[in-house]
């Protein structure tokens, strides 16, 4: 949807010119960088590392749950694994991966020389390794790390938490600072640095979704900061925000957390929508169906995401009117989401589809994310949620939207743009193996969770009733298979970075957008003077 740019590969003079400034190397290149491509690579590499660490924790969780009874670990350690797994995957793996893709692709897609504020960009990135060092470090301190779930409900995180909670609080604070600076940078880049002629309605879908995501980030990360601050003062300074003894209320914590939390889940899915909207047209050899409706759907999802938070709290005993309001507002979100799914399918309809690896992931996303959307719809039905809440059904729901949704879209994006970044085609056979192994194992892993959840198996508990044993063994096997398959992904990426068949500028022939006009690998500096979009 970008509108064809008038400089194609042959008329791309800057590329060679720019290559003359030699790119810095070694330590300085990565630590002092002001280059959106290098910083994007840093984000993506960091995210991959966190994905592996968080994944290792998931393996431990599944090993413990392989059989009923306590096998491998103390319940307190299990709780720490569940908590830190969640925090790492949300704040360390998924969000930084999207920021990495934004860094790499937004300037290329809008014809900008870099991000609007390149130094701040580097600052946002380098905060993250320190923040996660703090969080992971607290696991090794006396008393252990956070063990109250990624949602850190009071009083679990106040009255009943261990003494190291302050580490968690301040780690979240600096993660938040990093996210806010990153988001400001994205918004300003998009608003201010689009090439002349790139009007809003010619702006690529990935850019649009990130613009709205960045807005959500700036709006809700401060809310998270407020929540952790009050946990800190309640725990260490004698305040009673979340304690009825002083006139506060633990349920108030849940309101604040979910006012952040629900927009947060959309922060993790809107850029995914953008990636899928980019990939599906390329491999269907058609224009994106309903571009305008995609933009409006994204906007309405973002707005609605502020008025649904109480669907996480149906069982806290709220007034009937609130139960009804939040039930309907939540269901309303399925409408714009449905519009998107319809548009992707309509884009594929009668297209000349080819099943390259990014497209395989994109199609898997569409199908499996839809399953996650449907289970969400079931959870949104208040009376039904009284049954499902805090069971494995919820775990199944959010893993369908986050793993086969957000993570699959990230993998789709990486396979789609990796040749552009590295200049090499990845090993297609291995990548396809990775896809099929992931697709099969992820469903063995998460699908049976629906059933044990409906049957009443509670989440966040290291032991379970005997009746759930068979399903849990199957789930764990799926889990180990999925975990191992991701090592293949790491191998494919590393192999592609180090070498492979050279690719032309427009790697996927039918792909549209300015990023395909620059040579592959993309030179260190691009679009020093902006292209003109007609």
């Amino acid at each position: 949807m970008t509108g064809a740019a008038d400089n194609t590969q042959d008329s791309y003079p800057q590329a060679t010119e720019q290559h003359e400034h030699h790119a810095p190397t070694g330590f300085k290149r990565w630590f002092f960088s002001t280059n959106h491509k290098d910083i994007g690579t840093l984000y993506l590499g960091f995210s991959l590392l966190m994905f592996l660490i968080g994944g290792a924790m998931a393996m431990l969780i599944r090993a413990e749950l392989f059989q009923p009874g306590l096998q491998l670990m103390e319940p307190h350690f299990y709780n720490q694994m569940v908590t830190v797994h969640g925090l790492i995957m949300v704040f360390g793996a998924v969000m930084p991966a999207f920021v990495g893709l934004a860094n790499w692709m937004i300037p290329l897609m809008i014809g900008a020389p870099d991000m609007a504020l390149p130094r701040m960009n580097n600052w946002s990135f380098w905060i993250l390794p320190f923040a996660f060092a703090m969080l992971l470090g607290s696991l090794f301190m006396e008393g252990g790390g956070p063990a109250f779930g990624w949602t850190f409900y009071a009083p679990l995180s106040t009255t009943y938490s261990n003494d190291n909670t302050a580490m968690f609080v301040f780690a979240v604070h600096i993660m938040g600072i990093s996210s806010i600076m990153g988001a400001i940078n994205v918004i300003v880049t998009i608003v201010n640095l689009r090439a002349p002629g790139m009007t809003w309605m010619k702006t690529p879908m990935f850019v649009w979704t990130w613009l709205i995501t960045a807005f959500l980030l700036i709006a809700v990360m401060p809310v998270l900061a407020g929540a952790v601050t009050m946990v800190l003062t309640d725990k260490y300074f004698g305040t009673d925000f979340f304690n009825a003894v002083g006139g506060g209320d633990p349920v108030m914590f849940q309101h604040i957390f979910w006012f952040f939390g629900h927009p947060e889940v959309y922060i993790m899915i809107l850029p995914a929508f953008g990636i899928i909207s980019t990939i599906v047209p390329t491999f269907s050899r058609k224009k994106l169906f309903g571009y305008h409706s995609m933009v409006y759907a994204t906007g309405s999802i973002a707005i609605l995401s502020f008025v649904v938070w109480m669907h996480h709290m149906f069982t806290t005993g709220m007034p009937l009117a609130a139960e009804l309001f939040f039930m309907y507002s939540t269901m309303l979100i399925s409408v714009p989401t449905g519009v998107k799914i319809f548009n992707w399918v309509a884009t594929m309809w009668r297209g000349a589809i080819s099943f390259e690896v990014p497209m395989l992931f994109a199609i898997a996303f569409i199908v499996l994310f839809t399953i996650g959307g449907f289970s969400g719809l079931m959870l949104a039905i208040t009376p039904a949620d009284f049954q499902y809440h805090d069971t494995y059904f919820v775990v199944a729901h959010f893993h369908y939207v986050l793993v086969t949704g957000a993570v699959f879209s990230i993998m789709a994006g990486v396979y789609y743009w990796l040749p552009k970044w590295s200049g090499h085609m990845f090993d297609i056979r291995l990548a396809k193996t990775h896809f099929w192994l992931s697709l099969i194992s992820v469903n063995i892993l998460f699908f049976p969770m629906h059933f044990v959840g409906l049957a009443g198996m509670p989440r966040r508990i290291p032991d379970y009733a005997l009746q759930f044993a068979d399903f849990n063994a199957i789930i764990s096997i799926g889990g180990f298979a999925f975990g191992l398959s991701q090592l293949l992904f790491v191998w494919v990426v590393l192999k592609c970075v180090r070498g492979g068949e050279k690719v032309p500028a427009n790697v996927w022939q039918a792909a549209e957008g300015l990023e395909w006009d620059v040579p592959s690998p993309a030179p260190h500096h691009t679009f020093a003077t902006p292209p003109v979009i007609k």
Partner: protein, 295 residues
């Protein structure tokens, strides 16, 4: 149209490598882990946390000084186009927006406490049994001077220091505004005078705020731990005070730069950013004065 576009898009300045961001990341790491350790060491052995915290702030100020120096230098040597200027401005708006959201959380807490949690504990709505079973003596009033567990305190009135502080901050917002006009009109002496007055008013506000805290702690028995009223009072006024401090420092830096001859009527982003921040702090105070003190 074409020529306008040509100048707007002419050349966007992309700075070369810089070591300040990583220094800033290290600073934030020292501050965060230092603050964490400090809090964990309250009432225990050990002061390693506060040393780390202080080191962190030192590194942060060192970084800010160096970074801002670079930016000022680039700005003075004319590297920034109007497009770049717009990037800076926009970032500042969004930064202020994030701050607004931060304060909204604590105002939200205030409303929740007043409208829901305290009345419920007092038995309002269908909560008669809550009151009966938990704290039958408890009565729902605002300001909450007696907590459910029976701790008592006194409320902070709005007359006196808070009212004085409101006048001080409002006046400073006006003087900052006059300073902006003086800058646009090229009247440097007026500009300097108004800036100095604004900075002084800012620090006067802080002085009275501290006086008020001392009064609250020593005479009213209103502390951070005096139940939800004290909690909200100190978190809101405390965070606001921290923002006033930051804003006053920004104004001070800008004033010093004015004395060095920086800024003119076309090029004064830093000046404007500091004044926007100041107006924001002022508006937060007005809400605070109204909702925390008066109502």
């Amino acid at each position: 149209m074409k020529s306008a576009a040509a100048t707007r898009y002419d050349k966007y300045y992309v700075p070369t490598q810089s070591h300040w961001p990583i220094v800033g990341a290290v600073a934030l790491f020292c501050i965060a882990s230092g603050a964490g350790l400090t809090v964990m060491q309250i009432g225990k052995q050990g002061t390693s946390g506060s040393y780390l915290l202080m080191t962190g702030f030192a590194v942060l100020f060192f970084m800010l000084f160096g970074w801002i120096k670079n930016v000022v230098h680039e700005s003075m040597s004319g590297l920034y186009s109007s497009q770049m200027d717009f990037s800076f401005r926009q970032s500042m708006w969004w930064f202020i927006f994030s701050e607004v959201m931060f304060f909204l959380v604590f105002f939200g807490v205030l409303f929740y406490a007043r409208m829901f949690s305290v009345p419920w504990l007092g038995g309002e709505g269908n909560n008669a049994m809550t009151n009966e079973l938990l704290w039958p003596e408890f009565q729902s009033v605002w300001p909450l001077t007696t907590t459910p567990s029976g701790e008592t305190t006194q409320a902070m009135g709005w007359f006196g220091l808070p009212l004085l502080n409101t006048f001080i901050l409002l006046t400073s917002s006006v003087t900052v505004h006059f300073a902006h006009h003086a800058l646009l009109a090229g009247k440097r002496t007026q500009l300097k005078a108004f800036m100095i007055i604004s900075v002084l008013l800012g620090f006067a506000f802080l002085y009275f705020q501290v006086t008020e805290y001392i009064h609250a702690y020593h005479e009213l028995g209103l502390t951070l731990a005096s139940g939800i009223y004290g909690n909200v009072f100190y978190l809101l006024t405390g965070f606001h005070g921290m923002h006033v401090t930051l804003g006053a420092i920004l104004l001070l830096i800008v004033t010093l730069r004015i004395f060095k001859g920086h800024f003119n009527k076309d090029n004064h982003f830093a000046f404007e950013a500091a004044t926007w921040y100041w107006h924001f702090v002022d508006i937060v105070w007005l809400c605070l004065f109204f909702f925390v003190y008066v109502l």
